[in-house]
């Protein structure tokens, strides 16, 4: 029990009876559709001049059209200095067997100045990169309370250990996670529920300069980017966190290496509600993989039987971005995968028996000509249900000369959750939705701590785009920073259930998702126009359950596993 910001907070442990009685008395029900008055939410682009984010991605674009040029790069929201404000990390290209920059390229770390501006602290922090970078995943792998960074590359990957003093040290070799070849997405999650963050790393195709194939159009007499179908697949990696700063490569013994892929997006989620985190991995020009976690020892790939491997016609598509969420509130995790133009994106609804059906609804027609990368289920309007943002862009800069109606730069799309369906609200969501981008990575996070989630997008060969959420916090909310004591430090796998009035919702804390990106680790629970949150329950991966009764609203709080609310976190007044 404690007092926070003048509001009384109660904490109960294992109070199932209390909750059951409360449900009975109030005639509560689970809801499956948005019932809250919708605030007018728009995303406003924050210029580099105003934000200080002057970094620009260099894609190393060449006449030879080496494939790594067109798939990067990623970004992250993370709080590297534990000041309660999310900072930003960008990944850039760099030296490789096919590219030498005339001036050195750098990744970038921007510290949040708490006033919607950022300061470049890359050099000071020692996180310049120096590889041909792809994506990034933030996670406190050693449980010291400081977020570390894993940077994937075409070449060698980097593990930046956060020294806790605003500097980092590359420990990838020492930790055993340097990984050769071409890596794309990385996911920190605890596959064996031992309380430590393990690491999944997506491998793309077998590639090196000498393997670059001549892909050309006779009428154009110039090269374009080859279809990945022409290259061989590779096995992805699973590393077990040994807890001593080192990782063991368990790719083979876990079964992950049995399924070589051309992997891009990956998300860790629990599709069969057995308490073990599974993996959904998008593959380009190959079947997608759904790895089911068999008790933390093995993974079984069941994509074909689950119906998520191919299109309904049995065609392998160009899977790129992925995410997972229980979008219809039925208690089961659903999946999303974005593909290339004319392949349509898939929204896989979980049938609760390891079978999924593709039910894209209006997303189908809207994405017919688009190629999707970064994407994320998140509650942009704080009405309590997950909405969906899609970031798009064609990988081939010559596409407009070869295919009618398909463009190289493509628009963003915003879909609002209306229960079992998604409604395209892009036209009402801000001027940025009428612009086109060479979009790739995308991360969500509350950069100004005002309670609504903002968006960071990286564009291939161009400046990133920072979108400030305006209006999402007109609805009420509660922000949680989950601090694990026994569970994994990111609380991946935690189930959060909250109730406000007659509305009860739940959310599984997944890991990964989107493309080459890493999100704000905090969870913002939307409650619509409700003035009060009756209760919040956190079921931690360790099995512990914390319950908060009548917690405050419109603020961030830190919840320590086994102790409940400890103290408030920085919050900007509404």
């Amino acid at each position: 029990m404690g007092f926070v910001a003048g509001m009384r907070i109660y904490y109960y442990r294992h109070s199932k009876l209390v909750l059951a009685l409360l449900l009975l008395v109030l005639n509560l029900r689970w809801i499956t559709s948005a019932q809250i008055t919708k605030p007018n939410v728009t995303f406003e682009e924050v210029s580099a001049k105003n934000s200080g984010l002057t970094w620009v991605h260099n894609n190393a674009h060449s006449a030879d059209r080496y494939l790594p040029e067109t798939v990067g790069a990623g970004c992250a929201f993370l709080d590297y200095d534990n000041d309660g404000w999310v900072d930003i990390y960008f990944v850039n290209s760099g030296p490789s067997d096919f590219y030498n920059a005339s001036t050195p390229l750098k990744n970038a770390l921007y510290r949040n100045n708490h006033n919607a501006t950022f300061t470049d602290v890359t050099d000071k922090a020692g996180v310049v990169g120096g590889t041909f970078g792809m994506g990034v995943a933030a996670g406190d792998y050693d449980g010291d309370g400081w977020a570390d960074l894993y940077v994937t590359s075409y070449g060698r990957n980097i593990l930046y250990h956060n020294n806790g003093n605003s500097t980092f040290t590359d420990v990838a070799d020492k930790a055993g996670v340097a990984v050769p070849g071409w890596s794309t997405c990385a996911v920190w999650f605890d596959y064996d529920n031992d309380g430590k963050l393990d690491l999944f790393v997506s491998s793309f195709v077998v590639y090196e300069k000498s393997l670059n194939i001549l892909c050309t159009d006779e009428t154009l007499s110039r090269r374009y980017y080859c279809v990945p179908r022409l290259f061989k697949p590779r096995s992805s990696y699973l590393f077990h966190n040994d807890g001593n700063g080192k990782f063991s490569d368990v790719s083979k013994q876990s079964g992950i290496a049995d399924s070589p892929g051309k992997s891009f997006g990956a998300v860790a989620t629990d599709v069969n509600n057995d308490g073990w985190m599974d993996l959904f991995v998008a593959n380009d020009t190959m079947s997608n993989y759904l790895f089911i976690n068999k008790g933390g020892r093995k993974f079984e790939e069941v994509g074909l039987a689950a119906g998520v491997a191919f299109s309904d016609a049995g065609k392998a598509r160009s899977g790129m971005g992925v995410d997972a969420a229980d979008y219809d509130g039925d208690g089961w995790q659903d999946l999303f995968v974005a593909n290339i133009d004319r392949e349509f994106f898939s929204l896989y609804h979980n049938q609760k028996d390891l079978i999924f059906t593709d039910e894209p609804g209006d997303i189908g027609a809207a994405t017919q000509l688009l190629s999707g990368w970064g994407l994320r289920f998140f509650d942009y309007d704080n009405d309590g249900d997950p909405d969906l943002l899609l970031v798009n862009g064609h990988p081939d800069d010559f596409i407009e000369m070869r295919v009618t109606h398909v463009k190289y730069k493509e628009p963003l799309l915003m879909f609002e959750n209306t229960g079992r369906l998604f409604k395209n609200v892009s036209a009402q969501s801000g001027a940025v939705f009428s612009r086109d981008f060479s979009g790739r990575g995308m991360a969500t996070g509350d950069l100004d701590n005002d309670g609504d989630l903002d968006v960071l997008i990286t564009n291939n060969g161009e400046a990133p785009v920072l979108l400030r959420n305006d209006g999402g916090n007109k609805n009420n909310w509660l922000g949680l920073r989950l601090v694990a004591t026994k569970s994994n430090p990111s609380a991946v796998g935690a189930m959060i259930t909250w109730q406000a009035g007659a509305v009860k919702r739940s959310r599984l804390k997944t890991a990964g998702g989107s493309y080459l990106a890493s999100h704000d680790p905090r969870e913002v629970l939307g409650v619509g126009s409700s003035k009060k949150i009756d209760s919040v329950e956190i079921r931690w991966p360790s099995g512990k359950v914390d319950k908060l009764i009548s917690p405050p609203i419109n603020t961030y709080v830190r919840v320590i596993e086994g102790e409940g609310v400890a103290k408030s976190d920085p919050t900007r007044a509404k």
């Binding site: 179908r229 074909l304 039987a305 016609a313 049995g314 079978i355 059906t357 189908g364 027609a365």
Partner: protein, 455 residues
């Protein structure tokens, strides 16, 4: 078929009716003659006046009823026209012209079974009626009743030895039956009768294609095109033939030319849309089909194609509307049921999908795609025995259908039979290797029925 303009139709109706008014009483004859002349001159009110004066005295006068029926048809009042014409036919069942008029009327009303029935009635009354026999044979052929079509032509052929038109049609029928030799024989006979017979030359192109001789096929096509000049009808036929021969660029160029010559012909626009589908450019195809339907909202082929192209773009609700209209207009065509079935399947209405797909299969038992889609619905409903039966049948009917093998692979994987699942996946890999594997493309189009014939 029979896609005549209203004015032309009325003219034909009048002419045929006119033949049969000659034997009536002088007074009636005079009025009927006048009425026919007024109709011909589009003086409808005066024609009606003459006809009403006859019917006032003799309400069951069949010739007057027939003529008034044609007037109503011309006015677009098809229900009234049908009432008048059927009354005339009932009063005088041996009245050949009224049965021909009913046949035309049922074309306008999209009632092919009734058209066929009326044409058969005409032939029963007048076995060597050239037009009725020709139209009947064409109609049967377009509906896939190939043997019946051949029977009609072979029966009438001895009575009309020099009919190039029939020979060419007979060639078409034999080709559809898979008998290239007999088809060629009849096309050549047609050409012997009329050297510059473009229909027969196009037929020879199809024969060459059936024999795998694409070069000759293209040669015949070029020959036919030389004869076409600025004839929109001939160019249309050449375009459709090029579509069938899978010479898509040629098909498109020819059909563009056709539409340029006659921009307001719905059938031509539908064919042009079909050529865009093959490109594939769904947007251009959609534009063509929409234009066709603007000109002729009840064009069943247009409705079906537009429904299809919207479905391919996942514009499901609008697609449904057009396919439902197509089914309402002609319940005897399997494709709209199939595509509507696929749409409701996507919308999770599996029971309805099953009903629709079963209808498609009932109409066309060897419709492989429909069996596969039906199997997929059973698979979604976890009715694995039925799914297996339909999917295996689909794969048997079309062994090159990747979707059938994929659904079987999913089924076997769910039945915990990984060996069979993998075997199916290997078949898909082999099929993929046969395709142009370097292309990134969406799902391929299911074969659609040939575009409509303008006649």
């Amino acid at each position: 078929m029979f896609a005549l303009g209203r004015t032309t139709l009325a003219f034909l109706l009048v002419l045929q009716s006119w033949i049969f008014v000659a034997g009536q009483t002088n007074r009636f004859q005079d009025r009927l003659e006048k009425a026919a002349a007024h109709i011909r001159d589009n003086r409808i009110a005066e024609a009606e006046q003459q006809l009403n004066s006859v019917l006032k005295v003799s309400p069951n006068q069949p010739e007057a009823l027939n003529l008034l029926g044609t007037v109503r048809a011309q006015q677009g009042r098809l229900s009234e026209a049908e009432l008048l014409l059927t009354r005339a036919a009932k009063i005088d069942p041996s009245f050949v012209a009224v049965h021909m008029n009913l046949a035309f009327l049922y074309v306008l009303r999209n009632a092919p079974e009734k058209t066929i029935s009326e044409l058969k009635q005409v032939i029963k009354l007048e076995p060597s009626h050239v037009e009725a026999n020709y139209k009947l044979a064409r109609m049967l052929l377009s509906r896939g009743q190939i043997d019946e079509s051949i029977y009609v032509i072979e029966k009438v052929k001895p009575a009309l030895p020099a009919s190039v038109m029939f020979l060419s049609l007979l060639g078409d029928a034999y080709l559809r039956k898979g008998n290239a030799e007999k088809a060629e024989e009849n096309y050549l006979l047609a050409i012997a009768g009329q050297k510059e017979n473009a229909d027969a030359i196009l037929g020879l192109a199809r024969v060459s294609q059936a024999r795998g001789d694409k070069k000759s096929a293209i040669g015949y096509l070029a020959q036919a095109k030389e004869l076409a000049g600025n004839s929109a009808e001939l160019l249309y036929k050449i375009g459709v033939a090029a579509l069938e021969l899978e010479i898509f660029d040629e098909a498109q160029a020819t059909l563009e030319q056709t539409v340029k010559l006659k921009p307001d012909a719905p059938a031509y626009l539908v064919a042009l849309g079909a050529s865009w589908l093959k490109k594939p450019d769904l947007f251009a195809a959609e534009r063509s089909f929409r234009r066709a339907l603007e000109l002729q909202p009840e064009n069943t082929q247009g409705q079906m194609y537009l429904g299809y192209v919207l479905f391919k773009q996942k514009k499901l609700s609008e697609a449904k509307g057009y396919l439902e209209k197509a089914i309402k207009a002609d319940a005897g065509v399997p494709e709209p049921y199939y595509y509507l079935g696929l749409i409701v399947q996507e919308e999770n209405e599996d029971e309805r999908a099953i009903t629709l797909l079963e209808k498609a299969i009932k109409l066309s038992p060897s419709f492989a795609n429909a069996h596969v889609a039906l199997g997929a619905s059973y698979l979604k409903l976890k009715d694995y025995p039925r799914a297996q039966k339909e999917l295996e049948l689909g794969a048997k009917l079309n062994p090159n259908d990747s979707k059938a093998h994929y659904q079987l692979a999913v089924l076997y994987a769910r039945l915990k039979d990984p060996a069979r699942a993998q075997a199916e996946m290997r078949i898909i890999e082999k099929l993929k290797a046969l395709e142009q594997s370097e292309k990134r493309e969406g799902d391929t189009f299911v074969i659609m029925p040939a575009p409509p014939n303008p006649r």
